[in-house]
């Protein structure tokens, strides 16, 4: 496995995953142990496309974007393995989803993700997001790498 320079900037992140504007929600990866864990940062400025709509009088980060931020850091735990670099991923399951506080313009979400299991293109693990060390959101995930699953599926319906 090649050495990965940290912190990983947006160019490095885009080489490892296929999410793009307006749905790329990781600015930097600050810690990374391929196959084990990742820590990433997302800065939410008022220029984000969703703030004017959610909501005009009380801008805050929608829950689905918090979830997406969590999972985009999580997938770096296995997309940083050479064989999987740049692969597309699919949600299979999200569980234990908790939102504890609002995230507003100007705040920085720091996500710590842990990979519990990664076998044959199916990743299982969890992520916690914090703002100023205060827990904001968390979830556990099952994520699949569809191109990899194709290698193991039964060849035909009986």
């Amino acid at each position: 496995m090649k050495n990965i320079l940290l912190p990983m900037d947006i160019k490095g992140i885009k080489q490892h995953q296929q999410n793009r504007y307006p749905l790329l929600f990781v600015d930097q990866i600050t810690n990374l142990i391929p196959g084990e864990s990742a820590t990433g940062v997302k800065n939410f400025s008022y220029n984000e496309w969703f703030f004017p709509a959610h909501f005009e009088d009380d801008p805050n980060v929608p829950g689905f974007i918090q979830m997406e931020t969590l999972v985009q850091v999580f997938i770096m735990t296995f997309l940083s393995i050479d064989e999987f670099k740049g692969e597309k991923t699919n949600f299979v399951k999200a569980d234990k989803v908790v939102f504890k506080r609002k995230i507003i313009p100007g705040e920085k979400l720091v996500v710590e993700a842990k990979l519990d299991s990664f076998r044959r293109g199916v990743a299982i693990g969890s992520a916690v997001g914090r703002v100023s060390d205060e827990e904001a959101c968390s979830a556990s995930f099952v994520i699949a790498v569809p191109s990899y699953l194709e290698r193991f599926k039964p060849k035909q319906k009986l």
């Binding site: 299979v92 076998r119 293109g121 699953l149 193991f152 599926k153 039964p154 319906k157 009986l158």
Partner: protein, 80 residues
């Protein structure tokens, strides 16, 4: 719990299926797709503490075929 009951329970749990799992075949229910297949294999491996060969993973296309394949790993699934 017998190995056969454990094996049946794995199918029920992998696919959240409450019908007769002994008749299940790949893609016969929506949950047994390529992702469900990997979840099923992971549960079988964990339950019986084995690591299956790729050829066996691809061949495991029905409940009955799985019984046959697991016998290669010295896991007897005798029906009660």
């Amino acid at each position: 719990m017998s190995n056969f009951d454990k094996y049946k329970e794995i199918f029920g749990s992998a696919f959240q299926y409450e019908g007769d799992v002994t008749k299940l075949k790949y893609q016969e229910i929506p949950d047994w797709d390529s992702v469900g297949h990997m979840q099923l294999i992971a549960l079988i491996e964990d339950a019986f503490d084995i690591e299956m060969d790729i050829d066996d993973i691809i061949d495991l296309s029905s409940f009955d075929k799985g019984v046959e394949i697991l016998s290669k790993y010295s896991i007897a699934l005798d029906r009660a």
